[in-house]
């Protein structure tokens, strides 16, 4: 029977082993991420699920320290290892899915979806390589714990086998910067030239900036906090995205943490982000020295690249 001329949905699932130690990394089997229908496919979303164990509320449950590195063949989709909160928006103020009808988060469980800014065309036979890394950069008093039961899936559409291969494809790009700071002394953080950058040779169409801030305090659940944190961003060319330091949560509202943009970043251009706490943070409470704030900013966009050559079915 001739294959009908339509795009059929496809979902590919690749589980990942646990992360027993900080700094360890795991990769799902790339064979599981090939289109089983042997044709090209369009990828619309990447989904991640994970669990932090043991089930202690003192853990940071925002997956700040879980990073991911994705490539399509030899084409990078991420600027090295990018923390997942920098990629995905939040839902209603909580980082990820919640379980209870009253909005109470499950604290330790998460399903996270990255809606790609443009569909990613995957030629037949070209593999996706995904690497998860448990970063220990943000380990706080050993209160982070093993990340278990990572699930990774690809949501897309199978294309007809006779669909012509495009000369160029849209490739998503994700890059991020992260910092942590204590209440005292207040730190001023400046991102590096390589973090919120377009190191590629093509133009980068920036679609959003994702901002996420959370605090860790002994006995605290690490809930997203609203602190007197300000951000100021400038381009490497000297242009300012904002004239004055601006409240972080004005830029990244806590319900989703997304600042939508429609902008173009030239090749080798980058955004410099300066973060500063201007006054004591109420979130630090009575034990300010034990509390650390984590700030993650991600930049999401896409670029046009030459279609990688795949294996015809």
């Amino acid at each position: 029977m001739a294959r009908p001329d339509f795009l059929s949905p496809v979902h590919l699932y690749a589980p990942v082993d646990s992360f027993p130690a900080a700094g360890s990394e795991q990769s799902p089997n790339p064979q599981l991420l090939l289109n089983p229908n042997k044709s090209a496919m369009l990828i619309d979303q990447f989904r991640f699920s994970g669990q932090q164990a043991p089930l202690l509320h003192t853990d940071l449950w925002d997956f700040t320290y879980l990073g991911v590195d994705i490539r399509l063949g030899s084409i990078p989709l991420t600027n090295g290892i990018v923390p997942i909160p920098a990629i995905v928006p939040r839902y209603f103020g909580f980082p990820f899915a919640t379980t209870a009808f009253d909005g109470t988060p499950t604290n330790d469980d998460a399903v996270m979806t990255w809606h790609l800014p443009r569909p990613l065309y995957v030629p037949p036979g070209v593999q996706l390589y995904v690497r998860f890394v448990r970063q220990d950069v943000f380990s706080v008093n050993n209160r982070d714990s093993a990340i278990e039961n990572i699930g990774f899936s690809v949501v897309g559409r199978s294309m007809p086998t006779d669909y012509p291969i495009p000369k160029k494809i849209w490739v998503p790009w994700a890059t991020a910067t992260q910092c942590k700071q204590k209440a005292t002394p207040f730190l001023r953080f400046v991102s590096t030239d390589q973090e919120l950058a377009n190191p590629n040779t093509e133009l980068l169409h920036v679609t959003s900036l994702n901002g996420f801030n959370t605090a860790s305090q002994q006995g605290d659940q690490g809930l997203p906090v609203k602190s007197p944190l300000t951000a100021q961003m400038t381009l490497s060319s000297g242009k300012m995205l904002m004239r004055d330091p601006t409240n972080f949560f004005s830029l990244f509202p806590t319900d989703r943490g997304v600042l939508n943009l429609d902008a173009v970043l030239q090749s080798k251009e980058f955004v410099r982000c300066e973060l500063e706490l201007t006054q004591p943070d109420p979130a630090f409470g009575n034990t300010p020295n034990d509390t650390i704030e984590y700030t993650t900013i991600g930049m999401i966009g896409y670029r046009e690249v030459q279609t990688p050559i795949g294996v015809q079915p």
Binding site: M1, R3, P4, F6, L7, S8, P9, V10, H11, L12, Y13, P15, L32, P36, N37, Q45, R47, S49, G50, Q51, Y91, F92, F94, F96, A97, T98, T99, A100, F101, D102, G103, T106, D108, D109, A110, V111, T113, E148, N149, I150, G151, S153, V155, R157, S158, V206, L235, S237, K239, L261, D262, A263, V264, L265, Q266, E269, V271
Partner: protein, 350 residues
Amino acid sequence: MNLKFPKMTRFNTGLGPNPIVGGKGGMRGGSGGAPIAFTASASGLVNGQSIMLDTGTLQSGFRTPYFIDEIRIQVVTDEFKVFGGGFAWPGIGGDLRVKFQTGNRQFSKLPVPIGLYGPVFSNQDFGTVDSGADDDGDAVRRSYSNVRWPLPKPIWMAPGDVIQAVFDYDAVGIVGAPKPPVTVNVTYIGRAIAPGTPAPDTRQIPWVSFFEYETDEGYLSTTDEFRNPFTYPMIVQRFTERTFYEELPNQNLREELSRGQTPAMLNTNGQFVSMRLYDSLGYAIVKEFAPIGLVMDTSRHAWTFSRSLGAREQFDLTLRTDDLAGVAGTPVAGWYTFTGMVGYRDEVRD
């Protein structure tokens, strides 16, 4: 970096030359027309009862054609029990079902659990709670459960046409009585369009079907639940999913927005549900068993796409209860997974 700002678009108020029926009102939906909404309610719906809402209030008050864009359902109950910190959700857990039809164009073959019509828009979808105490000091609470179904395509309605809503409140196939009485409110959201607007040749009528699975069934496949029953193609817009839990035998099922759906979110039995999906043409849609919470995305409880399903073609869904090792675990009763298929087909106008 060149910053580009989105174009300013004129907000279409629908208040065109004629303040009542202004706007363009395109044949296949469009955005024109004067906004309208109409509501019907039924209270005291008890277990085992079916009721059709008052059709007189479920149609446009204007003698003009109109579109219906969205159906909203709210379920209210004053009475439910609290067990071990968990809440029972009367009328939600697959027990309260509704069937819509306009004329002889049915939206489903059977009454469909109300939560399967649309995706989750908010983790508050399934309720807010008022609490207080009765004379005995026991908890008395009122729950409001909201379901919002944006129709796959706006439905063109002739003056006087109505979408009938028949609710069926029954514990079919599910242990768990008694069920407290509920009140249902249904609201249709639409647009009145100009009188004399020519009627379209066809209308896009939704089609919804569902599949019910309990984890003690272990491994279960659909038969013809997700078949296109028509002699012409239909467009499948999304799959939906809801998971419910019956904590005690006499408890109503309660909504579990994330548990039991991924290896990271096990149910109280330490299990999760996996799914595999093919179509009757042989397309592997979910080739290997995958956690249903990843396929359906627990933040929305839906997988939205657009896929043509030919006449009498079907999707074949298999559900399985897994433990953490990824193999079938010991099935335990009490957890239910409902999967829905939502789409539409072109119907010649009556």
